[in-house]
């Protein structure tokens, strides 16, 4: 328990000292998969809370219309596909990170975004549309910070050069696209089969009744 608290405390240190931090969670046993999952859960929690309790002006699709299950599924899906795509590629391009390493650095990198989202809930209740620029600015800071952390995590975990990391990131996103495409294709196929069955039953019922 004490160790876990220490690791969570360390994740805050990591957000401001990413190079040292990512190195130490991989090599010096300063982080664990458990902490990574806690951080991921924290991110999910803040984004769901933002959806439910964020001010209407910045969150017009939220409130009672907000679908928390969809949001959770989206985050988990993207997180998982990113992990899988990155792992597939880095194993090919002699990256040093294992799948669990990838899960770790991605989850740790989400911390700034979670904090910003948490800050945004009271802020969005106090700001009007005229002050929207301020809101988006703070939101963008969180986004850029998290993006930078993911990138640095990639560099440190896989021991890549910057150029190679950029390339790998681009290819990973492309691979994510392919995975989603295949998933949709599969879903579409299932839908067509179901549609065929329903049409068949309908047609039969019409024939029988007439």
């Amino acid at each position: 328990m004490k160790r876990l608290l220490g690791e969570i405390k360390y994740s805050f240190y990591l957000t401001v000292h990413p190079f040292k931090g990512f190195w130490e969670i991989k090599h010096e046993n300063q982080g664990s998969l458990k902490t990574a999952f806690i951080l991921l859960a924290f991110f999910i929690l803040t984004s769901v809370a933002n959806g439910y309790y964020g001010g209407y002006i910045f969150n017009s699709g939220g409130g009672v219309n907000f679908n928390a299950y969809k949001q959770v599924a989206m985050i988990l899906l993207i997180w998982f596909i990113w992990g899988v795509a990155n792992w597939c590629l880095t194993s090919l391009f002699d990256g040093e990170g294992t799948f669990s390493d990838i899960c770790k650095f991605t989850s740790y990198a989400l911390l700034p975004m979670s904090l910003v989202q948490m800050l945004m809930i009271p802020l969005s209740l106090a700001l009007s549309m005229k002050e929207a620029a301020f809101y988006t600015m703070v939101m963008n800071i969180g986004l850029v910070w998290t993006g930078a952390l993911i990138f640095i995590g990639l560099v440190v975990t896989h021991q890549y050069t910057v150029l190679k990391s950029i390339l790998i990131t681009a290819i990973t996103i492309f691979a994510m696209g392919i995975i989603i495409y295949i998933m949709l294709l599969y879903l579409n196929l299932l839908q067509q089969i179901a549609g065929f069955a329903i049409t068949f039953i309908k047609e039969m019922s019409l024939r029988v009744s007439s």
Partner: protein, 516 residues
């Protein structure tokens, strides 16, 4: 044997099940047929939602002089006297009905100033001057005729000297109106430059309300290499013909445009384009500038949701506009689905009704329509009849509220909007109206609730800002006062502490001094 029986039993069960399924299907289709009749509107998300019934069928006027019924009538004009003028196109005549819908007379022959008699030939447009003269678009005779109701011509305008149009192209006027200065505005078939404006004696002045065409560099480049014939063909792609005209009391000209590109229209809906670049309706001032207000969630474009595949994919085609009174409310007639769209002067969609079908209240080929008071008269070329519709209590309430808002009487409108909102919770705009009225009354929190219900973020933000300012005014002095008091007390405390210390020191020192 038992196997056979089991199969039979299963078959029987299956048949019963399928029959039940089929029966439920029949019920659904009957229900959807009934839904066809229902009025609806679009919410802020662009989803169709039902409204209470808006217009009830009142009856039909048979357009006949006693022997011959109207054939493919193309235009309807309701004069200030309440008389109805119908361009009975395929019978080559103008029919006049009095305000009780009784046949008055027909105009077939035109006698010009020299006593020469000529027949009308497929007239497609009719306009009536305030003094009672008729302005007939005598389409196949390539002329416009101004005459009295006996057919005595006061002026006959032949083909004007049209700029940019070849002499080989016939002048086919289909609609014409006249402004208070006596200028005649004409919509002619196959003229793509806009509305033809003639002066009082029929000489060509200019084209107005021309659609702005912005040629892309590629087209301009391609132009360099094309022949005259090709250029002419290219012109047809960019053409925008007006289909109908209406001139209101303030000389604003309302023109409808039917020939718009399908994709451009659908795109304008999808992107919530309110610039008026792609629009089936324009309100032109005397300079020919479009001044129609498009302040609704969507611009007046007709139907917003059309099927993405199948037979029902075409966007609305607006063929006529009708103004109620001074234009606080106007309606558009769509030929694609026979829908009638009603908007207020700000461009907010109020409701949609009407449609094709075989019921007596359905249309076949609607060609023109007009308000008679609050009632609507729709001319149908397929039926050769005028269908009359009368507003329900709900619409009368709506008209009242819109009129009050139009005249700037917001407090009166408040009560009405809240009643309308209670009658139709689907109608977002009523909640926007209610919210604005509440905001004017200083009930910011209630206004925020209304705007949130109507999903109007900008209005919500305005109400919220006002509420925040109000709350700040109340609580800021207290909060600031508490903070000031806190700081003051800290300072005071330290001062007092120092003072006490000094005093103590002095008294201690004094003691020593005394002692020494």
């Amino acid at each position: 044997m038992s196997d056979f029986r089991r199969v039979k039993r299963v078959m029987a069960a299956l048949t019963v099940g399928l029959a039940a399924f089929a029966f439920s299907g029949v019920q659904v289709s009957a229900a959807s047929a009934a839904e066809n009749e229902r009025s609806y509107t679009y919410n802020q998300a662009g989803t169709p939602v039902y409204t209470p019934d808006t217009y009830n069928y009142k009856g039909a006027v048979d357009l006949t002089d006693g022997t011959l019924s109207a054939a493919s009538p193309q235009d309807l004009f309701v004069a200030q006297t309440g008389e109805l003028f119908i361009a009975d196109t395929d019978n080559n005549r103008i029919l006049i009905f009095d305000k009780d819908f009784q046949f008055e007379r027909a105009v077939l022959r035109i006698t010009d100033e020299n006593g020469q008699v000529s027949l009308l030939n497929k007239p497609e447009g009719i306009y009536v001057y305030p003094d009672g003269d008729l302005l007939i678009s005598d389409t196949q005779n390539n002329r416009l005729v101004r005459c009295d109701r006996e057919g005595n011509a006061k002026a006959i305008f032949g083909r004007p000297d049209l700029a940019g149009v070849s002499q080989d192209d016939a002048f086919l006027p289909i609609k014409a109106v006249c402004d208070s200065l006596g200028r005649i505005d004409v919509v002619a078939r196959n003229i793509h430059y806009g509305i033809v404006q003639l002066d009082a004696d029929g000489t060509f002045l200019s084209y107005i309300g021309a659609p702005k065409v912005q040629p892309d560099p590629f087209t301009l480049f391609w132009r360099q290499f094309s022949t005259k014939e090709q250029e002419k063909q290219m012109l047809q792609f960019i053409s925008t013909e007006y289909s109908n005209l209406y001139i209101d009391e303030k000389d604003f000209m309302w023109g409808t445009i039917k020939t718009l590109d399908n994709d451009a229209l659908l795109n304008a809906v999808a992107s919530r384009d309110k610039s008026g670049g792609v629009t089936p309706i324009k309100k032109l001032n005397s300079m020919g500038k479009d001044i129609l207000k498009r302040n609704g969630t969507f611009a007046p474009l007709g139907d917003l949701k059309v099927a993405s595949s199948g037979t029902d994919t075409a966007p609305s085609r607006i063929i006529d506009v009708a103004l109620r009174g001074d234009g606080a409310v106007y309606s558009l007639l769509d030929i694609t689905r026979g829908h009638i769209f009603t908007y207020d002067s700000n461009g907010n969609l109020l409701y949609i009704f009407g449609g094709y079908g075989l019921r007596k209240s359905n249309f076949q080929i609607p060609t023109a329509f007009s308000y008679i008071g609050d009632d609507l008269a729709v001319l149908d070329a397929g039926l050769g009849k005028i269908l009359l519709f009368t507003p329900t209590a709900y619409v009368k309430l709506l008209f009242q509220a819109v009129d009050l808002q139009y005249n700037g009487d917001f407090t009166e409108a408040n009560a009405l909007w809240s009643r309308i909102a209670a009658e139709n919770t689907n109608f977002d705009y009523a909640f926007v109206g209610l919210g604005k009225a509440e905001m004017n009354g200083g009930q910011y929190a209630e206004a925020m609730e209304s705007f949130k219900y109507a999903d109007s973020v900008s209005n919500y933000s305005n109400a919220f800002t006002l509420l925040r300012t109000q709350k700040m005014k109340v609580y800021f002095p207290i909060v600031f006062g508490v903070i000031l008091a806190g700081i003051a007390s800290v300072i005071l405390y330290s001062r007092v502490k120092r003072l006490v210390k000094r005093l103590r020191k002095r008294s201690a020192g004094g003691g020593i001094a005394d002692g020494s």
